[in-house]
């Protein structure tokens, strides 16, 4: 273990014939060992990285944040159109049937609802498109304000100030019989 001044890798001289046989054995071992390691490593690495290469988020030169919200593809009511004031965002939390890995459950999901008229409403996911911090509606500012880096958005979800690179994320929505329904979030949003 003591450090000697010898150059690294110095070794006694071995007869040439023995050395070439040794080199052959070592190389053969490296090849066989490498193959064995690959047989184990490839499925392990593929399993571990599957969520990466299966990602539904499109490859973008300028990647943006992805909202962390648990997803659902069902239509879920967020209440009657008449219960909302036109142009004034309201935060509501609705129960949705979500799939979270191996868990299927009914989970509370928060959304900002902005009624436009009797037949239309925009429903926003409440996460900033900068880094995903929670967006609260500030009536005084007339905008959604992010507490992390000062980003803000107007009632149409367009950026007003701060670093967010794109508008707020909207749910697929429909109004049926005076009731507002939300569907899926856009894939990769």
């Amino acid at each position: 273990m003591a450090v000697t001044g010898e150059p690294l890798g110095s070794e006694p001289v071995i007869a040439t014939e023995a050395m070439s046989r040794r080199r052959f054995v070592v190389r053969a071992l490296a090849v066989v060992g490498g193959l064995i390691a690959a047989v184990v490593a490839i499925p392990v690495a593929a399993f571990g990285t599957a969520p990466g290469w299966q990602s539904k988020v499109p490859a973008r030169v300028i990647s943006t944040s992805v909202v962390p919200t648990l997803r659902s593809n069902e239509w879920t009511s967020v209440g009657k159109v008449a219960d909302y004031e036109v142009g004034i965002p309201t935060y509501v939390v609705v129960e949705r049937d979500v799939v979270d890995g191996w868990v299927q459950e009914s989970a509370p999901i928060g959304v900002h609802v902005v009624r436009q008229d009797d037949a239309r409403a925009i429903v926003f996911d409440p996460h900033c498109t900068h880094l995903g911090c929670p967006l609260a509606w500030s009536a005084g500012a007339g905008s959604f304000v992010c507490p992390c880096h000062g980003g803000s958005f107007d009632t149409a979800g367009q950026r007003v100030s701060g670093p967010p690179p794109r508008p707020m994320v909207q749910y697929e929505t429909k109004v049926t019989d005076g009731e507002i329904f939300i569907g899926a979030l856009p894939e990769g949003a």
């Binding site: 001044g5 990466g52 030169v61 990647s63 944040s65 992805v66 670093p163």
Partner: protein, 458 residues
């Protein structure tokens, strides 16, 4: 005792190895600064031991993670073990940072220790990975929101950003899969990487010997006839000749380890490991803030805006990490003494000032959680109503009053002294600065109350 020892040594033959290790000569001037490396190693061991203990009662599932932490805290010594794990993690980052700084200033990454530096740099990144994945495990508010932000920062990588988010979160969303992945990475993937890298790092330290303290003039004049290795050997042998045996240097390491342990235990017992409210993905009034060692990066994100911003973040962090790892190849001079390396010293000073400054700004900015400015004595009813408007409208996100609030906008602690009433009113409703949203939706009464409150601050 002696006979038992002899019995074992006959079978293991380890005695000569240990004495050889202890008696090997090291250069002189190996002092207190060199204990930073051993303190880091010591804290890593503490992390592993306490981490194994915590894993006995922790469940990585959103349904049970928070409750299992509460359970740990109620179990005898549970709160202490968790506190030690938490605080030694923070101290580990600090010791590791100082150890890195020491090695840089000493120029100890020079030939033949380039690989030790690179392995060390990767170890630094692994430790940050530990911190990032460890954070989520309690599944409290801080954990959840810091992970939302952290995974999104990692996901700002061009082209592969989406894949990176998928890889980290186990999908687009942040939930059960994410927690299980973070746990697996925290307790299996990173420790495996850590053991391999620490093994190589320490092997390098023993094999190459500890680098001598830098000298402005070498002990032995380099001989141009000899090659680099031979010249290095002559110099290092000369250093060792006037040096000391390794055992003579260990005492300082033990002292520092004991002090570090005392600090960790004191913090664990007095302050304990924090646990916020359970993670609530639907709270809109929570202000996410990372642990102190990520505050500098978090604060940096204030200063970039626009569509190119994610690309800039990615480039800064990636280039920063690459430069860090490749230091021995970017700085190829021969001199090791700081006085002979003015550019390297200037760059490291700028880095240290930037890290400390950004951390300070982040730490004194808006704290995590729901931030409100408290009322003070002697305020009129209208001023109190104004304060309520101030807190409700989220002014604290960007403005500070007597140390409470953010740094983006001007400090309002003495607003009434600095500005006229009319100017304040105009600035609120029609701000000149693009960074501030126009608060033109306030009622006349709210605006009057708010302005009255602000001009009362002198």
């Amino acid at each position: 005792m002696r006979r038992i020892g002899a019995w074992f040594d006959e079978r293991l033959g380890v005695y000569s190895v240990v004495t050889g290790f202890l008696d090997r000569r090291i250069p002189g001037n190996i002092g207190w600064f060199h204990t930073l490396g051993s303190a880091t190693l010591f804290l890593l061991v503490v992390q592993i031991v306490t981490g194994i203990a915590l894993s006995l009662s922790y469940v990585p599932s959103p349904d049970h993670a928070y409750e299992s932490i509460l359970y740990i805290d109620q179990t005898p010594f549970g709160a202490l073990v968790r506190g030690v794990h938490h605080w030694s993690a923070g101290l580990l980052v600090l010791c590791l940072g100082l150890h890195t700084l020491r090695v840089f200033i000493w120029g100890a990454y020079r030939y033949p220790r380039e690989l030790s530096w690179m392995i060390g740099a990767f170890l630094f990144l692994v430790v940050l990975g530990f911190a990032f994945t460890g954070y989520l495990l309690p599944w409290d508010q801080k954990a959840y929101w810091a992970t939302v932000v952290g995974t999104n920062i990692a996901g700002s990588a061009p082209i592969i950003g989406g894949a990176v988010i998928g890889l980290l979160r186990g999908g687009e969303q942040l939930g059960a899969v994410t927690l299980a992945r973070f746990y697996g990475i925290h307790v299996w993937v990173l420790p495996a990487a850590l053991l391999v890298l620490v093994g190589i790092h320490l092997f390098g330290v023993v094999r190459q010997g500890i680098a001598a303290s830098p000298r402005t003039k070498p002990l032995v004049e380099p001989d141009p006839e000899l090659d680099r290795r031979e010249n290095y050997e002559r110099e290092h042998e000369a250093e060792k000749a006037i040096g000391k045996p390794f055992w003579a240097a260990i005492f300082k390491d033990v002292v520092v380890a004991a002090v570090v342990l005392a600090i960790v235990f004191a913090l664990a017992l007095v302050v304990g490991a924090t646990l916020e409210a359970p993670a609530n993905p639907n709270s809109t009034d929570y202000v996410p803030r990372p642990e102190w060692y990520f505050l500098d990066m978090f604060q940096l994100l204030w200063y970039f805006t626009g569509e190119q911003e994610p690309l800039l973040i990615f480039l800064i962090f990636t280039i920063g990490a690459a430069v860090f790892v490749l230091v021995p190849f970017l700085d190829r001079g021969r001199a090791r003494h700081p006085r002979q390396r003015p550019i390297a010293m200037a760059l490291v000073s700028v880095t240290v000032v930037a890290v400390v400054g950004l951390t300070y700004l982040g730490a004194t900015g808006t704290p995590a959680g729901v931030v409100t400015v408290p009322p003070t004595e002697g305020m009129t009813d209208q001023e109190l109503r104004g304060l309520t408007v101030y807190n409700e409208q989220g002014c604290t996100a960007c403005h500070q009053i007597h140390g409470v609030g953010g740094h983006t906008g001007p400090d309002l602690s003495r607003a009434g002294f600095r500005w006229e009433e009319a100017d304040i009113r105009r600035q609120i409703v029609t701000p000149k600065n693009e960074k501030m949203p126009a608060y033109d939706g306030l009622s006349q009464e709210q605006l009057d109350d708010l302005v009255t409150f602000l001009i009362s601050l002198k």
